[in-house]
């Protein structure tokens, strides 16, 4: 953003002394734009998710408000605004009122480092990844506050479940990111994107077998971090009524609601930035992309498209999979994910050293892994194609013949 502040100053011919104010102004505008983008994205995603879910369940989904019901989220939002902001009699009032804000802030603050394109980024912190992990921890605090202050056992259970889950899964999350950091040598998100190339075989997913594993590790942990199915225990509808937000109504519930869907974009964006090449256009050097507005736009579109694909996958998962039990969830984290992450880091270091010695090996691995990834994708597509076909005649279980 500093670049833009500089440009604006030159363009307006403002004296050097006002640089701070101009910067503040530019950041303010950027924050507004980013927030609006986030809110818009969250809203539209909530509508989109309902439509996708409906399609999967042979329904239609919201289609009355606006073209194809696209404004449904606006209606729900306005309705929540108008609803009574209810605080239970025995609740811890200040804490209850405060709780939605950390959740909201925790999610929104990620937009500081999340890039939109080559130069459009809040602040390219050199510890971007660490910042991301740190700031999302605020969400845990908010959820725990909400769970505790409502003074209801269901919310408490939901809050505690959520805290346990999110704190645990932060470890494999961080580990899987470290695996990527080792070859790239930077913690900055923009740096990571610059390190990657535009073409798929230059992406960090296919960098080495370890990053390939780390991609899945990260994706799963991020789902757990974001309380999405199959890890949506904190708000398990059939078990815990509505989890930590059981007692919330009106606007405060809206904050939780927004945070949840904004989180979708955040997951998608991080996955794209770290693993899937971010805003890089195939065949274009990043320096060139930083200069031209057109290429920036194309980069942004690419970035958004990749994020949307990830968001889509998350939505599919949500509406297909059942959820795990809390002990299975914890077991999965501590017994499998953490060790895998640890081993991956060590192996990743060795592999990086090896590739530095033999560059050809790196290229071969990338292409090999790309083929593997393609195969996995093809299997997924086959499965999807199956869903569109008519009913199968082959029994799923052999003993059912």
């Amino acid at each position: 953003m500093n670049v833009y502040a500089q440009t604006l100053m030159e363009w307006l011919k403002v004296p050097e002394a006002y640089l701070v104010y101009v910067r503040i102004g530019v950041f303010f505008v950027y924050a507004l734009v980013a927030l609006t983008f986030g809110a818009l994205f969250a809203g539209v995603t909530s509508w989109y998710e309902r439509r996708v879910a409906a399609r999967m369940q042979s329904r239609i989904g919201p289609n009355r408000v606006g073209p194809q019901g696209i404004l449904q989220w606006l209606c729900d939002g306005v309705k929540c605004f108008l609803k009574e902001d209810l605080v239970p009699k025995e609740a811890d009032r200040p804490l209850f009122r405060l709780a939605p804000y950390p959740v909201f802030i925790g999610i929104v603050s990620t937009f500081v480092v999340l890039p939109f394109s080559a130069t459009v980024v809040g602040s390219d912190l050199n510890v971007g990844l660490v910042y991301l992990i740190a700031i999302t921890a605020l969400v845990v605090a908010g959820i725990l506050m909400a769970g505790w202050s409502s003074n209801s056992k269901w919310t408490l259970l939901g809050g505690v479940r959520s805290a346990a889950q999110m704190v645990s899964y932060e470890i494999p999350l961080a580990l899987s990111l470290l695996v990527v950091v080792v070859p790239a040598g930077t913690l900055s998100l923009q740096g990571l994107i610059r390190f990657q190339g535009g073409a798929p075989w230059n992406w960090l997913v296919f960098q080495s077998p370890m990053t390939f594993v780390a991609f899945f590790l990260f994706f799963t942990s991020a789902l757990a971090e974001g309380n999405r199915t199959p890890f949506d225990l904190p708000e398990a509808e059939s078990e815990l009524v509505a989890g930590y937000n059981t007692e919330y109504s009106g606007l405060r519930f809206l904050f939780f609601f927004f945070a949840e869907w904004m989180n979708l974009y955040v997951i998608g964006a991080i996955v794209t930035a770290v693993f899937l090449g971010g805003w890089r256009i195939p065949g274009v050097a990043w320096q060139r992309q930083a200069g031209s507005p057109l290429l920036e736009l194309v980069g942004f579109a690419l970035y958004l498209a990749k994020s949307l694909v990830v968001v889509n996958v998350i939505i599919w998962l949500r509406w297909t999979l059942p959820r795990l039990r809390i002990d299975q969830l914890m077991k999965m984290c501590w017994k499998y994910f953490v060790p895998i992450g640890m081993v991956s880091i060590v192996l990743s270091m060795l592999f990086t050293a090896l590739v530095t010695a033999v560059p050809l090996l790196g290229r071969i691995t990338s292409i090999g892994l790309l083929v593997l990834g393609g195969l996995i994708g093809a299997a997924l597509l086959r499965r999807t194609a199956y869903a569109f076909s008519s009913f199968p005649d082959k029994p799923y279980f052999k003993w059912m013949v």
């Binding site: 005649d393 029994p395 059912m400």
Partner: protein, 380 residues
């Protein structure tokens, strides 16, 4: 010890007392649990039933026999046809009435259609309670077709009031059998295979259900379980085969029994799977019944005013939730002296009370769903 004492005692101790329901998304209908839990692990889940106690048995004592049939529909709204069937069986036994063959076949067709519809909800809502919402709606989609068929048959979607004492209310409408055949072709094996691929073989579901709330065969018999719950525990007992009624002796079918498909014998996954297998057996029965459907009357000559002689009878059918029996005591008047309805959910609920200790909170939901509880059947 009354409920208040239980609450006071638990609040004073180390355990957390959770009040689950009556308005709770996973309790099927209105059932309330007082869950004594230590964190996530349940030490006891005390069911508080009766939120739907409508006094059907008392109403029966003031209703004429024929006029009571609509009430039996409301005993089990998911499988209302069986309640019709059991009640008319009880009255017919008392009257010594011979039912025409065609009526018996129509009853069986209606029953088995209803069994499929009921099991669809059972397995679907089990998947929903575990967190997968989609299979439930797929079940609902198929159920809508059955609802259409029953609507053709008797004009009702849920509460049928189809059977009469000595027969059934109306014959098959035109085109019914064709549509039923169409549905069966679609349903078995197509839908069942799809359902299994979607959720039945899902690793998470298996992990959630296998080894959860295992009920052994002896225990199941002792607790008076019936129907799919009993069969899942490895006891091959089916009233359709073992105490035959209606035209079941003419038809061929297997009785699926639990055998620890993916876990131990009698666990929640067995109960889930036995229901899926039973659906395909029902489809098989339906196909045969369509083949063999005889011509003839649909209504025996029953007196206009039904006044059975004094005596007792027990009409039992194998409902979707197990043995459904109407124990009827008549004193020779126009209304019964006493009607006792024995239902499968009642004993299943007792089993849940017994088996809940040591489960986790999420397991209780699975147990509840796998036992396929319907609240009004417990409370009546």
């Amino acid at each position: 010890m009354n409920l208040q004492d239980i609450i006071v005692e638990a609040e004073g101790g180390q355990q957390m007392l959770l009040n689950m329901g009556p308005q709770h998304p996973s309790t099927h209908g209105v059932i309330r649990f007082l869950v004594k839990a230590d964190g996530e692990v349940i030490s006891e889940a005390i069911p508080v039933v009766g939120y739907l106690h409508r006094g059907i048995e008392k109403i029966a004592e003031s209703m004429p026999y024929a006029g009571f049939i609509p009430f039996t529909d409301r005993v089990d709204y998911l499988a209302a046809m069986f309640c019709n069937h059991a009640f008319v069986t009880a009255v017919e036994k008392l009257l010594g009435l011979e039912v025409p063959r065609r009526a018996e076949y129509l009853r069986v067709i209606a029953d088995e259609m209803n069994r499929i519809a009921s099991h669809l909800i059972a397995v679907g809502s089990m998947a929903m309670d575990i967190g997968a919402y989609t299979p439930f709606l797929h079940g609902i989609r198929e159920r809508e077709i059955i609802n259409d068929l029953t609507e053709m048959l008797c004009g009702g979607r849920l509460t049928y009031n189809y059977m009469r004492i000595g027969g059934v209310s109306r014959d098959l409408p035109d085109g019914f059998l064709k549509r039923l055949k169409g549905f069966l072709d679609r349903f078995d094996p197509g839908f069942i295979n799809e359902f299994n691929r979607l959720i039945g073989g899902n690793e998470i579901l298996v992990r959630r259900c296998a080894h959860v709330a295992t009920i052994g065969a002896d225990e199941a018999m002792d607790m008076g379980l019936a129907g799919p719950n009993l069969r899942a525990s490895g006891v091959s007992w089916d009233l359709r085969r073992d105490m035959p009624y209606s035209c079941y002796p003419d038809l061929e079918f297997d009785v699926p029994v639990g055998r620890g498909f993916r876990g131990s014998l009698g666990d929640s996954y067995d109960r889930f799977m036995v229901r899926i297998l039973e659906m395909s057996q029902s489809a098989r029965l339906l196909r045969q019944a369509i083949e063999k459907l005889p011509d003839g009357d649909i209504q025996a000559k029953a007196p206009r005013k039904i006044k059975p002689p004094a005596g007792e009878s027990y009409g039992a059918v194998e409902s979707a939730r197990g043995e459904l029996g109407f124990y009827l005591v008549s004193d020779g008047g126009e209304t019964p002296l006493r009607l006792k309805i024995r239902t499968g959910s009642f004993s299943a609920m007792w089993a849940i009370h017994r088996k809940s200790a040591g489960c986790m909170l999420a397991d209780l939901v699975v147990l509840l769903a796998s036992a396929d509880i319907v609240a009004p059947e417990i409370d009546r």
